[in-house]
């Protein structure tokens, strides 16, 4: 759950999508990232390097700073200290080439199709692309229905389709399958997997250990606003190095 809304204190200058530079956005390099708010520190000393391809899963107990880290990487929040470098670009200049799917989908008060048209129009997309995206997420038959009448799973699939309509180089997903039924989870994992196979860099926040096992290439484990561990999924799940990650995977309470 997003536990921090953008406030005046952390509001960033407005950016335009135009004149996006060419060249890959990855690798990502995060150094000494810190975010303070009046009531305390949410993230501190986060160092991270992500390779060009694959699916990174960010895990950790509630309040560990997962959603905050995602927003800092996406350029929605400004750090108090430290830097985010997308292959040399600051986070705020990379936002236009990325997309974020929020835990609670934010859908416009329009039809399902019009929600996609909204982003496709600005990017020169056409009706065929819209129909293909809707078919891909299993919503073609609901194109004319009001987006706000969709079920939770359908709404999240539409939000995912809208994110993919922007052809992002990096796709952030903030617990997109929280409280969804298994069928919707399966559809979302399939679509995310296909996007990843096409070369979209995936950064996925989840609490679901089973899901993380299925989709992760590498895992970043956050604890109390710090990176407790960052390792390949093949190493993390059988043998986590940090005590917090071991407790978390074992189902013990991690505070």
């Amino acid at each position: 759950m997003s536990d921090l809304q953008i406030t005046d204190a952390v509001r960033l200058p407005r950016r335009r999508a135009a004149h996006a530079p060419v060249g890959p956005l990855l690798p990502l390099s995060v150094s000494g990232l810190r975010l303070d708010i009046p009531r305390g520190t949410l993230l501190d000393g986060v160092d991270l390097t992500l390779p060009r391809h694959g699916c990174t899963v960010i895990m950790g107990p509630n309040g560990a700073g997962k959603s905050i880290l995602l927003k800092l990487l996406h350029g929605l929040l400004a750090p108090t200290a430290g830097s985010v470098s997308w292959n040399g670009l600051p986070a705020t200049e990379a936002t236009a080439r990325q997309a974020l799917v929020f835990q609670k989908p934010v859908l416009l008060r329009r039809s399902v199709a019009a929600n996609l048209d909204f982003v496709l129009k600005a990017r020169g997309g056409n009706r065929a692309r819209r129909d293909a995206l809707l078919a891909d997420v299993g919503l073609a038959h609901k194109a004319r229905q009001p987006a706000r009448s969709l079920s939770g799973g359908e709404a999240q699939r539409l939000a995912l389709a809208r994110a993919l309509a922007t052809d992002p180089e990096v796709l952030f997903l903030d617990e997109p399958t929280a409280s969804l039924d298994p069928a919707s989870v399966q559809v979302i994992e399939r679509i995310v997997g296909e996007a990843c196979a096409r070369g979209t860099r995936i950064i996925f926040v989840t609490h679901d250990i089973g899901q993380a096992r299925r989709i992760a290439d590498d895992v970043v484990f956050l604890h109390r606003g710090r990176v407790a561990e960052h390792s390949a999924a093949a190493e993390f799940f059988p043998e986590p190095r940090s005590l917090a990650a071991r407790d978390y995977l074992a189902g013990r309470i991690v505070l």
Partner: protein, 241 residues
Amino acid sequence: MQDIGEAFHLALSLVLSGDADLFEIVGLSLQVSLSATLIACAIGLPVGALLAVSRFRGRGAVLVLINALMGLPPVVVGLLVYLYLSRSGPLGFLGLLYTPGAMIVAQTILIVPIVAALSRQVLEDLHGEYAEQFRSLCLTRWQSITTLLWDGRYALMTVGLAGFGRAAAEVGAVIIVGGNIDHLTRVMTTAIALETSKGDLPLALALGIVLLVIALGVNAGVQMLRMSAARQASYGAAANV
């Protein structure tokens, strides 16, 4: 009680007989108030939307000012417009004084703050919901404003109705800048004021009843339009790319 019964009877007979004077007054009232509402919406809605999405030094003071202007006394507005439009005033060359145009100007000034303040509140709530998504999509301020105005259009119809209600019920400003001239600037409210001052209470009450029925009709019409448009937008043809 006798007056009220007589007023109902007179109102009915005026309407049913197709009284030309009555319909002229009603027509001018609608023309003036609807024109003022449309112009005020054209000005006030973008201003409200801009205030909803903008953060700047002194924004709080601007909001207080706009909210305060919702309570502008009509006679003060009428007096100011009169001074500007009178022959010796800076806009006297327009020759608008004692015309429906002057009445539209006065009513527009009265209801722009209402439309701007109420739409700002409606759109700020909506923006609170959309803000992070807008930032993620890198929308420009203009794109954010147009999106908010479109998505908030049904709630904004109620804002427009509030403006229309204020305009249609207003008498102080239009009587100063319009002059209540028969067959030229006489509207429902000024006619009611005139008939009351003449002691013709049944006719004044009859006009009041007609005014209420018109206000009710306009509100009902907008409500039906709103419901129909909402259904259309929700289930109708999706916008083509």
